[in-house]
């Protein structure tokens, strides 16, 4: 049943996510952190300045009348000012002053686009490559293709202080073996032992449990004695040992108290800051993919009081995101850690009921940093209103192809045979955006 990755590696991983597999070519990134602004941020407030909005304020000139989820009115200028930042001079919003200091490590993709302006399908497309709830998520493709670097931790962890819309469908392994699914962690409560399911024994301390585990292993050894070489029996015994180690290691990995006061201060406070710091701790320990949802539900979904909300949201993400990039860099990890930032789509330059903005899948911004991506550049353009991607367009499929490429995987070769077809994360699409790779 298993496809490309096993062929590549010349072995059968048999759904074991702890096994490391060979890549198609030398990887630029070994791990990925995806900062998911669920709800969808507005590109022209943050990374894609559109002065023309001022000129046409309140109007709906030709080209600014695209269909989104809900009816919208005339163009609504952004109130945000931009500063040319870093050596590169890439303009960054005044709402993100600290992040602006890292712009020379960031590649701003201004020309993302996708197929559907509803949250559910768009979340699915960003995560699973199609708008259907029945395809493996990109994280499970990563694990399927690459395995994990630390078998004492899950290889694919999804952090959210609450529950993103569509929930577990966003990290499903679908028809890939169940072991490739994401492990969801609600990090709003950081009490050790509550984060990973079944991490802590309700009654036994570790030494008592070690005794019990030894008993189990001896029982299993006696059972196996008369049954010869049976890998399935052995694998299950090993999984107990690994689980036992995971109890300590995962507790340690999720324990932010082990960080210095300076580091804690650098990231700041709040769920998102904690999430960024957790993400760093996890990838540092070999977790292949950490996805951090900004918040419960869809906080970036600013259908009303847009400006007010965006100020708060940006205040919340600016320092931790900057700290994460800085921290990775100072540890020498940014060069092989890919950081992805973005929502499931962007927002309309037109107004919804005067002070809101609707979903916009025609054109929006995401950014990448580290992991072999060129910093201090923008790629692609939207039209003069920031409504539609027009130049060097990057479809979500192209983004996925590029991410896989950076991980050393050919998106056309990473396949899995299911239902008579070889499935790919990128379906039958996808172009590696090689212009942004160093």
């Amino acid at each position: 049943m298993l496809g490309a990755a096993q062929v590549l590696a010349g072995e059968d991983s048999a759904g074991d996510p702890a096994k490391q597999l060979k890549t198609h070519f030398a990887p630029r990134a070994k791990r990925v952190i995806h900062l998911f602004m669920n709800g969808g941020p507005f590109q022209a407030d943050l990374f894609d300045p559109k002065p023309a909005l001022e000129k046409y304020s309140g109007q709906r000139p030709e080209g600014a009348d695209l269909r989104t989820e809900r009816p919208t009115g005339g163009l609504l200028p952004s109130t945000v000012k931009f500063q040319p930042s870093g050596k590169s001079g890439v303009p960054v919003s005044e709402l993100l002053p600290k992040l602006a200091g890292h712009i020379d490590d960031i590649c701003v993709l201004r020309s993302l686009h996708s197929d559907n302006p509803n949250h559910g399908p768009a979340l699915m497309q960003m995560n699973n490559g199609t708008i259907l709830p029945s395809r493996p998520s990109m994280g499970s493709w990563f694990l399927y293709g690459l395995g994990s670097e630390n078998q004492n931790l899950p290889g694919y962890i999804v952090l959210c202080p609450g529950r993103p819309v569509r929930f577990a469908e966003l990290w499903t392994s679908s028809f890939l073996p169940a072991s490739f699914q994401g492990t969801y962690v609600n990090h709003s409560d950081l009490t050790p032992g509550k984060l990973i399911p079944y991490l802590k024994n309700p009654t036994l301390d570790l030494s008592a449990q070690r005794r019990q585990l030894d008993l189990m292993l001896k029982m299993n050894a006696l059972h196996k004695e008369s049954r010869g070489d049976d890998q399935a029996l052995e694998a299950r015994m090993n999984s107990l040992e690994t689980a036992f180690r995971m109890q300590s290691e995962a507790n340690e990995a999720f324990d932010l108290n082990q960080e210095s006061a300076e580091t804690r201060a650098a990231y700041g406070e709040g769920h998102y800051a904690n999430g960024c710091l957790l993400a760093r701790r996890l990838v540092e320990r070999g977790v292949r993919f950490v996805q951090l949802y900004y918040g419960n539900g869809q906080p970036w979904d600013t259908h009303s009081k847009h400006n007010e909300s965006v100020k708060k949201l940006c205040q919340d993400i600016d320092q931790p995101t900057a700290a994460l990039l800085g921290d990775l860099k100072s540890r020498g990890m940014l060069e092989d850690t890919l950081v992805i930032w973005g929502g499931e789509f962007g927002r309309t330059p037109t107004s919804e009921n005067g002070d809101g903005r609707d979903h916009n899948h025609h054109g929006f911004t995401m950014w990448l940093a580290g992991g072999g991506v060129r910093g201090g550049m923008t790629y692609g353009e939207t039209d003069e209103f920031g409504f539609r991607a027009v130049e060097n367009k990057v479809h979500v499929h192209d983004l996925h192809a590029t991410i896989l490429h950076l991980l050393g995987l050919d998106h056309e070769k990473l396949t899995f045979r299911y239902g008579g077809r070889d499935y790919r994360l990128t379906d039958v699409h996808g172009r590696v955006v090689s212009e942004i790779i160093t």
């Binding site: 708008i131 709830p133 008592a208 029996l233 689980a243």
Partner: protein, 790 residues
């Protein structure tokens, strides 16, 4: 034709398009060519390089995947256009799709997709069209992307052949052979230098049979009565007893529910019935009653249209009535909604074709199947059936009896709305509210059958996705109409690009000489009949293989839902033919099939691996032994509950969450939620209920290890088991340890095991009091021996 000659021909044939070019006008750019030779030269010098650089990667013979059915590398191809129709109107750039697309103004496709061409390039191409779009070349068509399907040839595929009873091989005379099955197995073994393993001992056999047939462990008494029964009929009697127990249907019904992508919770935008379990219970009952498999298939597709079938059979329609549905935002224009609706129809075609036929027909939505003789017409002929079928819920009582209930429900809804509105008033008019609430109460209480269960079904109504207003911008409405519909081909799967109409009918390759058009309603009943009659041979092979796979852990065909050319070949073709043939002869009886399989000497072999045979056939492809099998999550959890003495064996009814501390029912009744599969089930390879699942993956992970070490269930059941043992064997620790082994593993403890247990107790801080026993029992439940069946 040699190269030079063909070149000459090309030059001569440059024609039609050039001929229709309008004369260059005064306003033409100075470098625009007019004469033919000059036009070609201009093309080769300026236009072809442009096309080559920006378009050919997707739109030429050199494209890895041709996009949009469009080629720009031959005259004929350019004239023909692509999936979206003609590419250009020579002389009229403004009317030409090509030019509209490269202008990037949102009117067409915005090509090339990675960015707009420079103004100069756009002007160049525009002028080229304005000047007649001269393209050198012949009128010959480029080779079609795929050749026509040869259905006669296609029918020769092994799984499409009629079933024939097989000649028994000479091995049939061997004393090892019990049934026909064994003769075929032995023949293959001998061909590969192998011989059967000895028969497993009787305690192993009884445990194996219990898990195989009812998914539960035998009690020590059940083991004893079998082991000590000297009668040669003891084995067959046990098989009959198990097949007759209601737990058989629960075990095997769950196998079916994997295929049927069963869920207890349907999406919130559907009519909520909360009665999905009626389908699950129908499946369990059908297995228990040994409903002939062909009837089982027909009823799940068309129970509402089969003469003489009672309304109590309607839950069978849950196979379709509980299908996955995808969210449709009706504020969006119809072209987006049409794609979502088309995806739903594809889901039905996929689930039906793979479940019943073992064919991947959905592959043919976008193009003819690349491997199997299934055309895109075939796909749309089936999709039309589901495009004429609506998911809904209905009562299991006659319509005239339900009519007053429906009226009362409508009235209750209306009144409830009024109450809700009145409650918003300040102050709320209490008296008026009380009065309305009385009325609601009265209607609910005194309308006969008011609480009659509503069951998830399908009815024949066709879905039409239409504009809600005058323009697409006004959003979408979904119109259901009573008359069925035939679909136009969706060109490359896209419902916004329509090809010719295809009448609803069965797959051409499975019906000879040509399929009959479906004329009764949606055609569901005719489809059901065609599946079990026209394709009965295929249907029988597929189900026989699924049952075999469940017993042996591996099918005779390794791709249980793909019996097409890309599927695996059977390891034992004659055996599969023989079993499938006799399965049909024996009235499509699944219980007959179980008897054949578990009654065989093959099934009764020991699972012990002999190194010499292992080196010949490490995968046990030739079944020289039984496979050791790991229990799936359902029988594993059920077995833990059973030995702990807490299993609740009540049958049927609404589901309960697997994680509920009070849920002690069999796992087949654990709640399945498509959006949010229970963490416990998901950890243990439970399949994604959004999708037809042909086979469970079998993974071993550290997270499962954590579950074994720490989950509340293992801890609680360890406690329950230790209490049970203390109750049953109060005094003697050695006797208690032995009793535990008999209970869990169906065998006596060895001296080593007794010593291991006593050492653990004695070394415990409580010196072997209650807590140590709880930990010990927990360890027994978590052991390999408890989760594997020899």
């Amino acid at each position: 034709m040699n190269r030079r000659f063909s070149f000459a021909v090309v030059l001569l044939l440059v024609g039609a398009i050039v001929g229709s070019a309008p004369p260059a006008s005064a306003g033409d750019p100075p470098d625009a060519p007019s004469g033919t030779a000059a036009a070609i030269e201009h093309f080769e010098k300026h236009i072809r390089p442009l096309l080559h650089e920006h378009c050919y990667a997707c739109h030429s013979g050199e494209a890895k995947t041709l996009k949009g059915g469009l080629r720009l590398d031959s005259k004929a191809a350019i004239e023909r256009g692509g999936d979206s129709g003609p590419l250009l109107v020579p002389g009229k750039p403004d009317e030409s799709l090509l030019i509209k697309s490269i202008r990037y103004d949102g009117q067409a496709y915005d090509m090339p997709p990675d960015g707009k061409l420079s103004d100069r390039d756009i002007a160049m191409l525009t002028d080229w069209v304005a000047n007649g779009a001269v393209y050198p070349g012949t009128d010959a068509e480029p080779l079609p992307a795929g050749a026509e399907i040869d259905f006669e040839e296609g029918r020769k595929h092994w799984s499409f052949q009629p079933l024939v009873e097989q000649q028994l091989p000479v091995t049939a005379a061997d004393p090892w052979v019990i049934g026909r099955t064994d003769a075929f197995i032995l023949e293959k073994q001998r061909q590969h230098g192998l011989a059967p393993s000895p028969t497993a001992d009787r305690t192993t056999l009884v445990r194996r049979l219990f898990f195989s047939l009812v998914g539960l462990p035998p009690t020590p008494q059940q083991i004893e009565s079998f082991v000590e029964d000297p009668s040669p009929e003891a084995y067959d009697r046990l098989v009959e007893e198990l097949l007759g127990s209601p737990q058989y249907g629960e075990r095997w019904g769950r196998m079916w529910l994997d295929l049927a992508r069963y869920t207890d919770t349907t999406e919130s935008w559907l009519e909520q019935t909360n009665n999905a379990h009626l389908y699950r219970d129908w499946v369990v009952k059908a297995f228990n009653e040994d409903l002939p498999y062909d009837q089982f298939v027909r009823r799940q597709l068309a129970a509402d249209q089969i003469d003489g079938l009672g309304l109590e059979e309607l839950p069978a329609l849950g196979f379709l009535g509980l299908s996955p549905t995808y969210f449709k935002e009706l504020l969006l224009p119809p072209d987006i909604i049409k794609v979502i609706v088309a995806d739903e129809w594809e889901e039905r075609v996929d689930a039906v074709s793979r479940t019943f036929l073992g064919l991947t027909v959905a592959c043919a939505r976008c193009h003819d199947h690349k491997f199997d003789p299934v055309s895109t017409e075939d796909y749309h002929a089936l999709a039309g059936v589901f495009a004429s079928t609506k998911m809904t819920s209905r009562a299991m009582i006659p319509n005239d009896r339900y009519a007053p209930v429906a009226a009362a429900k409508a009235e209750v809804n209306k009144l409830s709305e009024q109450v809700a509105n009145l409650k918003k008033q300040k102050p709320a008019p209490e008296e008026q509210i009380a009065c309305l609430e009385d009325e609601i109460d009265y209607l609910k209480r005194y309308t006969p059958d008011y609480d009659t269960p509503m069951v998830s079904v399908v009815v024949d109504e066709s879905l039409h996705v239409e504009m809600a207003g005058d323009s697409p911008q006004a959003g979408t409405k979904l119109n259901y109409r009573p008359e069925p519909q035939d679909l136009n081909i969706f060109v490359r799967g896209n419902p916004n690009k329509l090809g010719p109409v295809v009448q609803r009918r069965f797959l051409q390759v499975l019906q000879s000489p040509t399929p009959q058009r479906f004329v009764r309603g949606s055609g569901r009943a005719e489809l059901a009949d065609a599946i079990v009659r026209e394709a009965g041979h295929l249907v029988a092979r597929v189900i026989v293989n699924r049952v075999w796979m469940t017993h042996f852990g591996r099918g005779l065909v390794d791709t249980p839902s793909n019996f097409g050319r890309l599927g695996a070949k059977p390891s034992h073709p004659e055996l599969l033919e023989d079993l499938a043939f006799r399965f049909v002869e024996n009235g499509w009886s699944l219980k007959w099939l179980h008897r054949e399989i578990v009654g065989s000497a093959t099934y009764r072999q020991s699972s012990a691996a002999e190194p010499s045979k292992q080196s010949i056939d490490p995968d046990n492809r030739w079944l020289w032994r039984m496979n050791r099998k790991r229990l799936e999550v359902e029988p594993w959890r059920d077995a833990m509950l059973a030995v702990a003495g807490t299993l609740d064996l009540s049958l049927g009814g609404p589901a309960e969450a697997a994680e509920d501390a009070t849920n002690r029912r069999r796992t087949v009744y654990a709640k399945i939620h498509r959006r949010e599969v229970s963490k416990m089930l998901q950890l243990h390879d439970f399949p994604d209920p959004n999708l037809h699942s042909e086979q469970r993956s079998e993974t071993t992970t550290a997270l499962q290890g954590l579950y074994l070490l720490n989950s509340p269930l293992l801890n609680e059941l360890g406690k329950a088991l230790s209490e049970r043992l203390a109750r049953e064997v109060p005094d003697d620790p050695v006797a208690r340890i032995k009793s535990a082994h008999r209970l869990l593993f169906g065998r006596d403890a060895t001296d080593d095991e007794v010593r291991l247990a006593l050492d653990y107790m004695n070394g415990s801080s409580d010196g072997g009091a209650g807590a140590a026993w709880v930990q010990y029992c927990h360890a027994l439940l978590a052991s390999n021996e408890f989760q594997f069946v020899d």
